[in-house]
Subunit: 122 residues, 2 copies
């Protein structure tokens, strides 16, 4: 079920490389990589997620300090990779990795659509 | 000149609250707040920027570790506030704060358009 939904996101967005469902503790629940041999994904998506789970925790702390409500989404664009992260609940987040020229807007849209389905299962 | 460009961004986007030009060390070069009495901006934009300058440094370190090239943009959406950050160079970034329902896409567009002008001055 998790795997299916991750695949639905990754395979339906131009430039989609991999998807990940992970805890804020950096432990992955499920992941999906479209083509493990594809260039663009620097290492496996779990390593990428672990690098960002710490940052996400910092972002949540900053949002709390600033009293701006819950963090819903974080997007990071680098030259070769974009990561869109959707917070599912207090414990889990969903991440999508896109390669250069990937369809960022569609990626965000798909994460937003799929998030409630995963939230219901967690 | 910096002030003028910040104002151009903030005043031309629906929901624009404030703009900031800051060093990665958390020291502001210039800032502009559309309406200091407006609800939505939790505290002054410099405090917001300082909270995020540390996070930005962490994001750059993660991008370096993952070898995905330079970080260009980071966007964070919380319930009551969105922040779009555009990296200008190794030392400075540009940030735009949007209130609830702000036009995120237009904010990103304006940052991208104005960034080269500021880069040329830094």
């Amino acid at each position: 079920m998790f795997q299916e939904n991750l695949q639905k996101i990754v395979d339906n967005v131009e430039g989609g490389l991999a998807g990940l469902l992970m805890g804020f503790d950096g432990i992955a629940v499920e992941s999906y990589t479209r083509d493990p041999a594809a260039p663009g994904l620097p290492s496996d998506i779990q390593t990428v997620g672990m690098e960002f789970s710490f940052i996400l925790t910092q972002v949540r702390k900053a949002a709390e300090a600033l009293e701006v409500g819950n963090v819903q989404e974080i997007a990071i664009r680098a030259d070769k990779l974009s990561i869109i992260i959707r917070v599912l609940n207090q414990d889990y987040f969903l991440a999508l990795a896109l390669g250069e020229g990937g369809n960022f807007g569609k990626g965000r849209y798909l994460l937003r659509v799929v998030a409630p389905k995963l939230q219901a299962e967690l």
